[in-house]
Amino acid sequence: MIAPLIIVPLLFALVALSLPSDRLRPWLLPIGGTVQLGLVITALLNHAPAPLGNWFGIDPLSRLILLLVSLLFWLCSLYGLGYLRLRLDWGNRIFVTCLLVFLGAMSMAAMARHLGILWVAVEATTLASAPLIYFNHNRLSIEATWKYLILCSVGIALAMLGILFVAYAALPAASISLQLDDLLARAPGLSTPWLRAGFVFLLVGFGTKVGFAPLHTWKPDVYGEAPGMIGALLAGGLTSVAFLALLRVMQIMNAAGQAAIAHQGFLIMGVVSLLFAAVFVIRQPDFKRLLAYSSVEHMGILAIGFGIGGVAAFGAALHMMNNALTKGVLFLAAGNIHRRFASKRREEVTGVIAVLPVSASLFIAGFLAITGSPPFGPFVSEFTILRGIFNSGHYGLGAYLILMLAIIFIGMGSTVLAVTLGQPSAKEELSSYRDTLLTVGPPMVMLLLVLMLGLYLPESARKLFADAAALVEVKP
């Protein structure tokens, strides 16, 4: 059940590479995405626990990430069909192929139960997504791609060093296994200084990929220059996959009895990320870069949630799904607006609601959802995280989080409302783009899912999040 989840997207990628027609090729995205989603759901319905000691396996955390990635990819692939139809002049062989490889690499990372394999998969996601960011082939997208490639590769290289430090912590031993189950079993015997050093490198390394401040510098550039659907997949899918890598590290630290340090590390990253996000969101003139800082903010919230643990960890697991889907809504809607107005500056784009009523409404609804307004999902998950923070007695942190959320709400609101409301700017006549079912349908479905997560959480879904959170909890 595990191999097809990695092999099927790669096979589709091969087909995409060999198919000569730019018109037919985009169809491989929704077909591949549907097959993958079907496979993931079958895998999720099968509750047999993964055998110990394998390089790949599906545990509750993998379930959450697999579902999140395949759902997001499926919806984005439908959008991609409409998007690539508008951009037939560009050629999409590399784009479609890399997207499918990207999906395969993310699934591989979600199921990896070996630190080495996890590393290889996370690095593969960087490499597969670099050509996607470069899709527009202009000066700005080159700059963004180069920054992404260098910063994330160096980050991932530091994570490799961290993994080697963790391995060194197991010495002297006849053989060191980086298999997760073995590491967890042997964790209490690991050498503490090496393990701690390894943790720091892994936190910084994978943290670069997650985009914690101050390691986030690639994020605004990349999310600003990449096509909307790539922004959605990066901000929703890739960051969650990289966060999963951090959670694996946390599992090891917990098992080794070093939970306090791991939690502290996560909290520091979270607090700093929120601060940076709040500072840069205010008067942000570019609405796609705005979304990047919102992504930094939400990675910070996730870090705080898992750093506090308990109820907050459950909230954070739920928030991962909410964040991914809401970012999907926002980036896809922002992509549509960008297409029509050929600009993403707030002084050049105004009054979108009169020109693209559906995209603009989605953008506003997405903004309300991501900033934690009821009745959307992020409200519930952020509230749960806050409850966890106050229950555990971190009153100062709770107050800080509320303050930052309020600042970010106001900062984002001023840009989002300036863009969507008012008189349409002259720029809108430049392009003939109109909302179609394929370009507004997928974000609409995402928004409905986010709304559902806010109003009613089915028992099976609650269990999915609770099991995932329980896995990173400290065992008494």
Partner: protein, 212 residues
């Protein structure tokens, strides 16, 4: 045998200085290739020889000595550049920083809680010094290609540390790591080419329009 390994590691540290002080891109690529080749040999002298070890050394040798330099040479041929322009920090200050980093690497590794057989080994100071060199290159150089070289040197530093653990790691994982590295350099090579085509130079200062 351990003596041979130590001599190789010392040479690796010396090559770091050469790369830091040279402005000829061709010579830098060759030096990094030579460094990679020496590092590929180190595990053979450090550990008892086994099939797995030979395979690792062979793969590392092919990739680090032939493939990656070939990719990078191809990139500089295509964009017709030979020299690094004046770096952000001059060559002499970078060399001094490199010396300081190497000295601190030696002092620091004396204090690390190493296991007994690794005490006094050159592998750990060499790894830290090479890491620091890679970082210096990444931070101070302005051309995209020298940044890619800096990344390769950084990876070399990590490889030295990995060699200490080579016996215990499964080959598949190491192969995956090397493959990822190869693809990374491949994509960087393509990007270098695109950057030069779009900006008609490889100067990273051109890449600074995305700012707050």
């Amino acid at each position: 045998m351990v003596d041979v390994a130590n001599i190789l590691l010392l040479l690796v540290i010396l090559l770091n200085f050469f790369v830091l002080g040279s402005n000829r891109l061709g010579a830098c690529i060759r030096t990094v290739a030579l460094q990679g080749g020496m590092l590929a040999l180190v595990p053979i002298f450090l550990h008892p020889i086994s099939g797995h070890l030979l395979l690792l050394a062979g793969t590392a040798m092919v990739l680090k000595v032939f493939f990656m330099p070939w990719l990078l040479f191809r990139a500089i041929r295509m964009v017709k550049i030979r020299r690094e322009i004046e770096p952000m920090i001059g060559y002499v200050p970078t060399l001094i920083l490199g010396t300081l980093a190497t000295a601190s690497a030696f002092i620091f590794s004396d204090r690390l809680p190493l296991i007994e057989i690794h005490q006094g080994s050159l592998a750990i100071p060499c790894s830290l010094a090479t890491l620091a060199t890679g970082f210096l290159m990444l931070i101070t150089r302005r051309k995209a290609l020298t940044q890619a070289l800096g990344y390769l040197i950084l990876e070399n530093g990590i490889y030295v540390f990995g060699v200490l653990l080579a016996e215990a790691m499964p080959f598949m994982v190491e192969a995956g790591v090397l493959l990822d590295l190869l693809v990374a350099i491949f994509i960087m090579g393509i990007m270098v080419n695109q950057i030069s085509r779009t900006f008609s130079s490889l100067n990273m200062q051109n890449l600074s329009s995305l700012r707050e």
